[in-house]
Subunit: 239 residues, 2 copies
DNA sequence: CGCACATTTGACGAGAATCAACTGCAGTGG
DNA sequence: CCACTGCAGTTGATTCTCGTCAAATGTGCG
């Protein structure tokens, strides 16, 4: 497993798994699945039946317009749950597309277990609830980015989000984190063209706000980058 | 109560209220509260303790940038729950601002009741769960609009969303629905400037796609407007 | 009537998209 | 070993959508 994969011990560090959960997890992690880049883990409009947790790789949640324009709603990295909703009758609002090779485990048994025996897996269930809430917060951030920020602000804000998320699961080192996305995908995340992503990245590099090398992004000065992402501090100050 | 207010009987039509709920609702609706335009029903970063249901008027969920730029994440109209999350420990991700005078009722007792006696108000709880899920779908729509659509597409798509929502609560008549928002607010919803909103509205009117009069928007030809909002049909085809 | 506020209009400029070509690079096969 | 291929990244020229600024017009209301 590469340096970009998840530290399994750390995933549920705060979840205080019960004995049952510990067993279940062991069983899950023994059956690591793999999906190549480009594969869809969920299709918009389909029911969401098989929740997955990502061990390594990136997944993007996308919607499309008639003429092929694409917009990513959210990205999922190691430690994130994907292709899932806690509501059992929920349908997918978007396509979940593997942006890199992805290693994941199916955790469908957990939800089924919940339906069958409520409270059997409180730790994991709590994690998934928290995951839904965190995604909601990210969606808000994303709307603000795409709706009201300039290109360099969007990139700065986005880089900071990714840094924080990788830091949280132990995948950030030396102020840097993995960045396997092409500039085309980056454009479809931030609502910009590939060319403009390229030029804006150059600008940030020129200003010393971002270093890119070996498929990683490094943020030499976090406060400086935070100043570029012109958001007010209220919502971020919670977590 | 004006013609833009909610038909109370209709709100919980599908919710099959229990006897307890019927009593509770009667008690709630007896205490209709009012907030003037501009008042904040929730502040970003604060805990969300007092869920409300809107009877009439519009509420906007906004976030701000340092220099005053504002972006609305979502709008709430009659029949919508606002200033609430089902997770009891959730904090507000945005400001909830009254965009018009708003009539609402507090339904805090329902959540407290759930904590105290689970399953006591299944109908209302189900409504609130569904409301959360619908908002999530709207957030996805909004990201697509603001991230990848042109100005006239955003307006068309937005008008269609509002028409559908008003239709659902019985507030749409003759292909029209109330539109009390200023063009400035409209701009902050759709990520456009006031001036550009104005010009884009004129364009849609000129093309016969939208009629505006008496604080209402009318959509003469829904299919034609839908063709302007260039979205693919997958996600919308669910509901 | 006059005030505040929303809408409208025009002129101009800025940010970003588009188009097209070119570079660099890893993988492939002759 | 090296041309060949495909793809991501880069660059320049040009166009276009949209923002900004400023002023004018309209509208509801005390």
């Amino acid at each position: 497993m590469s340096r970009d994969s998840l530290d399994l011990e750390g995933v549920l560090r705060d979840a205080k798994p019960s004995l049952h959960e510990a067993e279940l997890l062991e069983r899950c992690f023994a059956h690591t699945l793999t999906a190549e880049a480009g594969r869809e883990l969920q299709v918009a409009g389909s029911p969401l039946s098989r929740p997955k947790m990502i061990l390594s790789g990136w997944v993007g949640l996308a919607r499309f317009l008639d003429d092929g324009r694409r917009q990513f709603m959210d990205l999922h990295i190691a430690g994130d749950f994907t292709a899932f909703r806690l509501r059992s009758d929920a349908h997918a609002q978007a396509y979940a597309i593997c942006l890199t090779p992805v290693q994941y485990v199916e955790v469908a048994e957990i939800l089924h277990g919940v339906n069958a025996q409520p409270g059997l897996y409180p730790g994991l269930l709590a994690k998934m609830r928290a995951s839904e809430e965190e995604q909601r917060a990210r969606l808000f951030d994303h709307i603000l980015r795409v709706g009201r920020m300039l290109a360099h602000e969007r990139l700065a804000h986005f880089a900071l989000e990714l840094y924080r998320r990788h830091e949280r699961v132990g995948l950030a080192t030396a102020q840097s984190f993995p960045m396997p996305l092409t500039q085309e995908v980056l454009g479809d995340v931030l609502g910009l063209s590939t060319v403009h992503i390229n030029r804006t990245l150059q600008q940030l590099r020129r200003e010393g706000l971002l270093k890119t090398a070996n498929g990683r992004w490094q943020i030499p000065n976090i406060e400086a980058l935070r100043a570029v992402a012109a958001e007010t501090r209220e919502p971020g100050s919670i977590s």
